[in-house]
Symmetry: C2
Subunit: 338 residues, 2 copies
C-alpha cells in the first residue's frame, strides 16, 4: 500500500488552515422524500470551487526549495487547473497550466486570476501530457498530475477523514459514501480514509454513461480506455472526461469500491436541480453526479438505501451560467414529472 | 431596551443543536476584484433555506405546554412560513400558515412538507393579519409574527453572535455588516448583537428601490409605509415586500444602523450572479441584495470599502428555478459588461 491512513493524516496537517474544512450539509425534506438520511460534503465551497486544491496543495507543499523556485506545470480540464494555480500561489511558487482551448470561460478566468500562466491545446488532436512534459522539461519544473500520484490521492483523501469525523459528531455511522469518478483520485483517497476508519461503510463510484471506463475496467479486472473515436457520445460532466482509470488509482478503487454506477446526463441534471432546490448549493454537473445517482434511484438499484445514512460528495461548483441554466431547467422538469 | 445581548445569548442556547450554525464563507478572487475582504454568512444553508427558522424556533420554544397543545398561526410571503412550519414540528406542535395565493411553488411545497396547514389570501385585496388573527382566535392559538416581536428579533440576532465569533476565529474585526431589510427583524437582531460585541462595526441595511420604506422612514425620523397603490413598482425580492418598518424593529434599526441603501432589481441580479460564480451559493434575490450592494459599488458610494473586512448576510436561497434562471442570466450579462 502506497497511500494509507497515515499519509492522509499527514496531508490533513499540511492543508490545515489553507484549505476550507467544508461543511457536511443536511436537507430534512430530501431525507423525507427519499426515506434515508443524506449528508452532503460540499466541496463546491472549497477554495477554487472544487476538491482539487487539497491534492494539489499536498503535492506542492512537499516540493524542495529548489523545485519551488522553478514552479510547477499541470494539465487539466479546468478544476485541477484552478486547484494547482491556487496551491502554487499559496505555497509561494508559480504555475503553468496546459488547458483545452474549449475550457469553460469561468474556469479560464479564475485560473488566470490565481496568477497562473495558461498554455492551450486542442482537445481532440493534441496530447496535453506531452505538451506539459515538454514545458516541464524546458523549465526543469515539476509536473503536478491530476490524479495518478500518491500525494494527490492522499490530499483528496482528507475529505474522507473530515467526513467520518463530521458524521461521527452527528452520531451517524455512514452506511455508504457516493463519489463522482473521473480518473479515480478523489474516490481512491476518500475510500482509503473511510475504509480505514469505518470498514463497514460501502463505497460507490459514479461516472457518466459515455465515460464509463471505470465501470468497464472493474468488470474486465483491468484498465480499459474510453473509446473516444467518431460516434462516441459527449457528457455535460466536463470534469469527468478522463481517458482511462489511473495506474495508481485503479487498483485502490478496485480493492475498496463496492460498486460503480454509470448514469446519463439527464439524470445528472436531476442531481444538479436537487442540489439547487434542497441544499441551495451550486454544483457543476460533474459535482452533482453522486447526488444524482441517489435522487434518481440509480443507487437504489444496487443498494437498498431505505433507512440508511448516505454521504454524498458534492465535488465542485465551477459551471458556466448557460450550462447551469439549461441543466437546471431540464432537471426541474424531470423532477416535477416524477 | 427590550432585546439585548442577553436575550440573544439565551436564544442561541435555545436553538443550539436545532438550527444550523451556518458557515462564514470567503472568496479570495472576489476579494481581489473588490479590494476588500468579504465574509458571507450563508443563511441559505440554514434549516428551511433561510434565517427565519432561528426567530421562529426561539419564539415557539418559549410557549407553554398548553399553548403548544393548541398550535401556532403565522402569515408570510414564504420564508417565514417554512421557518415556522419547521420550528413547530421541531418543538412538537402544529402550525397554520396564511400565505399569498401567488406564493412561489417551492415555498408552498416545502411548507406543506414540514407538516403545516396552509390558508390562502389574495395579496392585493385581503388583510393577512386579520385572517391570521381570526384563525388564531378560533383556535385559541398563538400568532408567530414575521418580525415585530422581541423573541423573533432575538432569534435572528443569533446570526450576529455567530458572525462576530466566526470572524474573530479568523482574526478579523469586522468593519461593516451588510444586511437585507424587509420588516427589519433580521437587521435589528444582528445589529443588536454586533454593536454590543463590536461597537466600531458599521451596520448597513439594503432594501429594494420599490420597497424603500426603511430608507424613507429613516430620513423622516418616523415610520412611513410603502405606497402600494396603482403604478407602484414591483421587485424580484419577494421576501422584502413588507408594508412598513415594524413598531419594535424600526427604533432599533434607527438607533444602530449607519446607513440604508435601496437598490434596483438589475443590481440584485448581479449579487445573485456573484453568489453563484464566486461563492457557489444559491441565493434568492432577497438573500442576494446585501452582496449586490457590495459587488455593484452601491455600498462603496456610502462607505469606502477599500482594504476593509465586510460581512454580508446571505439571508436565504428559496427561489423558483425560472426566476433564478432569468436573474442569473441578467446578472451574468451585466457583470460581464462591467
Amino acid at each position: 500500500m502506497t497511500v494509507g491512513l497515515e499519509e492522509i493524516r499527514q496531508a490533513a496537517e499540511r492543508i490545515a488552515g489553507k484549505a476550507v474544512r467544508t461543511p457536511l450539509l443536511e436537507a430534512p425534506l430530501l431525507d423525507q422524500r427519499l426515506g434515508c438520511r443524506v449528508l452532503v460534503k460540499a466541496e463546491s465551497l472549497q477554495l477554487t470551487g472544487s476538491f482539487k486544491f487539497r491534492g494539489a496543495y499536498n503535492r506542492i507543499a512537499q516540493l524542495t526549495r529548489q523545485e519551488l523556485d522553478r514552479g510547477v506545470v499541470a494539465y487539466s480540464t479546468g478544476n485541477h487547473a484552478q486547484g494547482v494555480a491556487a496551491a502554487a500561489r499559496t505555497a509561494g511558487t508559480s504555475a503553468v497550466i496546459v488547458v483545452p482551448n474549449d475550457i469553460p470561460a469561468i474556469k479560464k478566468r479564475n485560473t488566470q486570476s490565481w496568477g497562473a500562466e495558461l498554455a492551450y491545446y486542442q482537445r481532440e488532436v493534441e496530447d496535453r501530457v506531452a505538451i506539459a512534459a515538454a514545458i516541464a522539461d524546458e523549465r526543469h519544473a515539476v509536473i503536478v498530475p491530476p490524479f495518478d500520484d500518491d500525494r494527490i490521492i492522499a490530499g483528496q483523501g482528507t475529505i474522507g477523514l473530515e467526513l467520518v469525523e463530521q458524521a461521527g459528531a452527528l452520531g451517524v455511522t455512514l452506511d455508504a459514501v457516493v463519489i463522482p469518478c473521473g480518473g479515480g483520485g478523489l474516490s481512491a483517497g476518500i475510500a482509503t480514509a473511510v475504509k480505514a476508519l469505518s470498514p463497514e461503510t460501502r463505497i460507490y463510484l459514479v461516472e457518466p454513461s459515455n465515460y464509463d471506463d471505470t465501470l468497464r475496467s472493474m468488470a474486465a479486472g483491468d484498465r480499459i480506455a474510453n473509446d473516444l473515436g467518431p460516434g462516441h457520445g459527449t457528457t455535460i460532466c466536463d470534469a469527468l472526461t478522463t481517458e482511462m482509470p489511473g495506474e495508481l488509482t485503479f487498483p485502490i478503487n478496485q480493492r475498496l469500491a463496492d460498486g460503480v454506477l454509470a448514469i446519463d446526463d439527464d439524470l445528472v441534471a436531476e442531481g444538479l436541480y436537487a442540489a439547487f432546490a434542497d441544499l441551495k448549493l451550486v454544483l457543476e454537473p460533474s459535482g452533482a453526479i453522486a447526488l444524482a445517482a441517489l435522487v434518481t434511484g440509480a443507487l437504489g438499484q444496487e443498494f437498498d438505501v431505505s433507512g440508511k445514512s448516505i454521504a454524498i460528495i458534492g465535488s465542485g461548483g465551477n459551471v458556466d451560467p448557460l450550462t447551469y441554466r439549461d441543466a437546471l431547467q431540464n432537471g426541474a422538469a424531470r423532477m416535477s414529472a416524477r
